[in-house]
Symmetry: D2
Subunit: 309 residues, 4 copies
Amino acid sequence: MTVNQLILEMGRSGSFGAGRLAKAVDIYEQMLRDDATIFFGFSGAMVPAGMKQIVIEMIKRDMVDVIVSTGANMVHDFVEAYGGRHFKGTCQTDDSKLYSEKIDRIYDVFIPDQYFVDCFDKPMLGICQEIYGEMMKNKNSPRLSISEFFKKVGMLMKPCEDSIIYAAYKADKPIYVPALNDSCFGLLWDRKYPSVKEVPKIQLDVMGDMENFFEMFRASKKTGALVLGGGVPKNFIFQAAFTTGKKLDYAIQITMDRPEPGGLSGATLEEAVSWGKVKSKASYVQVIGDTTICFPIMVAAVMERIFEK
Amino acid sequence: MTVNQLILEMGRSGSFGAGRLAKAVDIYEQMLRDDATIFFGFSGAMVPAGMKQIVIEMIKRDMVDVIVSTGANMVHDFVEAYGGRHFKGTCQTDDSKLYSEKIDRIYDVFIPDQYFVDCFDKPMLGICQEIYGEMMKNKNSPRLSISEFFKKVGMLMKPCEDSIIYAAYKADKPIYVPALNDSCFGLLWDRKYPSVKEVPKIQLDVMGDMENFFEMFRASKKTGALVLGGGVPKNFIFQAAFTTGKKLDYAIQITMDRPEPGGLSGATLEEAVSWGKVKSKASYVQVIGDTTICFPIMVAAVMERIFEK
Amino acid sequence: MTVNQLILEMGRSGSFGAGRLAKAVDIYEQMLRDDATIFFGFSGAMVPAGMKQIVIEMIKRDMVDVIVSTGANMVHDFVEAYGGRHFKGTCQTDDSKLYSEKIDRIYDVFIPDQYFVDCFDKPMLGICQEIYGEMMKNKNSPRLSISEFFKKVGMLMKPCEDSIIYAAYKADKPIYVPALNDSCFGLLWDRKYPSVKEVPKIQLDVMGDMENFFEMFRASKKTGALVLGGGVPKNFIFQAAFTTGKKLDYAIQITMDRPEPGGLSGATLEEAVSWGKVKSKASYVQVIGDTTICFPIMVAAVMERIFEK
Amino acid sequence: MTVNQLILEMGRSGSFGAGRLAKAVDIYEQMLRDDATIFFGFSGAMVPAGMKQIVIEMIKRDMVDVIVSTGANMVHDFVEAYGGRHFKGTCQTDDSKLYSEKIDRIYDVFIPDQYFVDCFDKPMLGICQEIYGEMMKNKNSPRLSISEFFKKVGMLMKPCEDSIIYAAYKADKPIYVPALNDSCFGLLWDRKYPSVKEVPKIQLDVMGDMENFFEMFRASKKTGALVLGGGVPKNFIFQAAFTTGKKLDYAIQITMDRPEPGGLSGATLEEAVSWGKVKSKASYVQVIGDTTICFPIMVAAVMERIFEK
């Protein structure tokens, strides 16, 4: 039984979580066939959880147009590009012992702390200095928006088939990280941080991306959101739909967050209709389930529908 | 029966959620008596949910030292300071109808869309222009960190006893909003946004706060985190503890997020021990429950212990 | 600040969980003032969590009319009546080690396994034999419904002010345990179970309670449900409302279960309206939060309103 | 890509929910190859959600040995066997309107209320009267355990390839429903229930199944539990493992319940180790995710491994 056959079975009964997942597959397929601009919200520790290859495949196959990510996912992507690895661990463990062994835990994933120095701080600092040097040479003000920054990182990092940042650069798809400071990237700007010898003087303008991000919405015939988790990536995409008046025609969110506490991550897509973020006649669905399970299934089923004919 | 008496009862049985909430009260009391620097993480739609007065009271009574917030909470605080209101609504509603009536829904709270124009965009734009004008007069580069920006907003906004931004300014407590662009603040930087006549040319440096935020950690004898929800505010506080090596001595998180999906919001505080964000011998507790219920109880009980003797 | 004052504050903002909890207090107060028959659904490990005293107080003050419980809660109540105790433990522990030390864990509560033998099997078996002997003497068929069984247990157990079973017996309030076999009670009927020397020959008729339970609904002027958790107790109460056509006039549920997976525990009270279990004009509310926190607060606030004037 | 290939990919990264689901597939495969007695706990509205066919297939292929179900799932199975249907509905609906149209809602599934009369009450009452008549003819006491009752129902109902009850009867696999009264079955014992003309006089002994259920544990070389949801079915299986000392060698639970509120449904399998319900060296895993998604995937992958070589 292929993954798509399973999804079709789920769609036949059409109820509960299975029905919602089957609907998500239908909507993702529609988004692609309708040539909507697809904004991909990428939150949660998805790279440590092994979801990277799927995202790279989506980029290469043009199944996504714009990436809006947490800082952490980009950090972990870069770490792996420079030789770092995430190990299968366990959450039944003694964290004090892990600490003394310099191993960081992300749920049931282990990562040696040293990787953040060797595979992030050092190479990323080098790249930052190169960016700064080039800007100075061209007598530019050393000011960049965050999406420009990621484009330069993709250009200057070592070519790596297994990196989201690199794949996005090669495919000319922008990466937005609205809260970049809230990740190891932020630490590079701390003069006293041990692995930083010289602080990069690049100025990253937090508002520098607003206009071009909105512009992409305005220029789109149809818009779609595909959100894993919620958080800043979800809100950033949805507020652009709200501001620009280009309400989402399609929206999929896979999350474990619930609406009852009132946070934006768990807010229903119906709520987004009241704001004018999602069209009232949009095709939309919220899948309440584990992202690391539902996301690979959805993408595999859609690929089967689109590419295997 | 006073709130603290109830908490003491809960502490006596000491189990499940009740036990954790009672422990949270004990830890918050300890933090205060031990004169720890208290970092307050403020995520979720807490201002719309009516939690504002509690935070203002905490600021006035010096029960918190540093505020790390989502953009949205600061937006809603500002809106209320300029006359906007949040109304008791319902989540059993027709969102298309709400949209056509220009009412935005936040779970079971309603807010007329017009407030964002009249009580946010217009006055905030005025303040931004004033900030810019003054910077130009002093021939400064128009560059601000986000905490500097909020200090200036507090200074220039109309005095308002009912505002977190104003109360923090008066009490000289910094406000950090690591993802400011991910809120109505970001929209002001969009030239085509209808209510923005002239875009402020202030440059908000996303990395501008890193050093001074870390500095506050480094300068603290003891550190404590009090986190509502999770999201960027939680991570921003915890990564500073990690980077500076000033592991948290005290940590409280109230959230509905669960550890199993692997996101940072729901990550256990034990996990944070592995990273060196929380001391292995720290006093810490995670309360899994509704923030709008647990937070007021916790604060009321602590106030009773500290101030009513 | 008293608990009721806090609740009144929560009601003033009226939103999110705080609003729902404040509404629950109002509804419970109304139920009592309106003299509704109150069906109390009691699931989850509430006795181990220390909620017993509250329930006893509710029974004594006539704040509840009918108890529908899981078997486990009645087992733990009986164990404590015969000297067993629940200890404050931790969920950060080595369960293999606990097993080898014969300590059973219930989340963060510890209970020595021996208590189930000494404080449950032995005295309960004695009571069962006494019941059986008396039935034989009166030449009755040894057949009992479960609520009759609990009445006899209350009558024959050693008087204990700290027992729900005993308090319910004294106050003449019936206890229903629809799934009695799903608890240590069931084990007594296993001939090979080590602590059972002689199996009681009492026949417990699973359907024996249906008519009298329905009769209580039919005889009620107004009906109210107050449900902690969900599970069998929730369904048993709601199906009686459905069957008898005495739709609930009032309904409160406190739970962490969510509607999305489609189970009855997390089903919304709106869903119950479609079935005719809850009146469409009923006063009802679902509080999504930790029961061990929300339940004591609710009861304390209602007591303050009802008894402290 | 086949479902098993996807699972193997998930197992390769091995983390978060995907890792747990991949582990569940491995464990289920082991259970089957090791010829363990497999106890299947079946809770939540799984038949309305369309999971029936999978369970029937598992029964036919001998992938399960003993079924422990909620009453509701058996009711809905019987309803469908007698021509009733569940319809794809929505949870965005007006439940008062549904009520007035006599349509019952189960999350996003609709079922006309009349089906419970025509496709359950009437045929089931006929079967009960037939059972009773036969018992009287043989001068037996009209007393049955619940598993005996279901065997007779399977024997006397109209043959139906699409029924769990019928398939279990044909395959000689017992069905246990510890809380049978907590379902439409219970209503048949209510003399005033409109569709019941004559109350069946069969006595269903709630404790009648204890010994034979325990016996199956005692007679097993190896034991495995496969639990959907939690509730009474989970506890009933686990307490038998505890009582008989035949700790589970294998255990899989798929649920959305969380451990923090302390209920048995969400209790970790580690907790079960402390009780001696699960072997400390057992192969076990808890998948925190939507059952209607994870269960079909797991079964499809295991079938591919076992039967498609």
